[in-house]
């Protein structure tokens, strides 16, 4: 099922449990890898999502890769701005 491997969940403004459910759903659909991505203030939420999935829902899930970086985004008034980003790879 290689076409549903490597799914990415982008963390936004929804509640933490929405993203936890999204990750769980991906794993239940047969994927072995889910990548959680977040930028700026949602980074904390991304870590929460990864930890909740790891600890509470699926005991077999592990964090296999974790990285932080800086991305340049363009704001509404066209000025470039640097934001921190995180990428958390979960494997089942």
């Amino acid at each position: 099922m290689s076409d549903i491997e490597g799914n990415t969940i982008y963390i936004g403004k929804k509640g933490t449990m929405s993203y936890v459910l999204a990750v769980i759903t991906q794993f239940n659909q047969g994927t072995n890898t889910v990548v959680i991505k977040a930028r700026g203030k949602t980074i904390s939420k991304a870590v929460d999502v990864a930890e909740i999935v790891k600890n509470k829902f699926v005991n077999s899930v592990k964090v296999t890769d974790l990285s932080i970086s800086t991305e340049e985004i363009t704001t509404e008034n066209n000025t470039p701005m640097k934001v921190s980003a995180i990428e958390i790879r979960l494997n089942k």
Copy 2:
């Protein structure tokens, strides 16, 4: 200078640049390793601090270790609560 190696900076409510300065100060005092720790909502700030130090101030600084975990803390009314935590190790 092993007694000033392995300094830890805990991220709290101060502004991001206070912690950036704290990290820079540690490196300037001769330490080779600074560990940035944060819990809950301050995790995003910890990533900002690490990225700012890495990108802007000291080109030779690298993230050599990065981990997330869950810690159990006791709240004001004595109820245990789980929070996510991050640990970012910077090496010069």
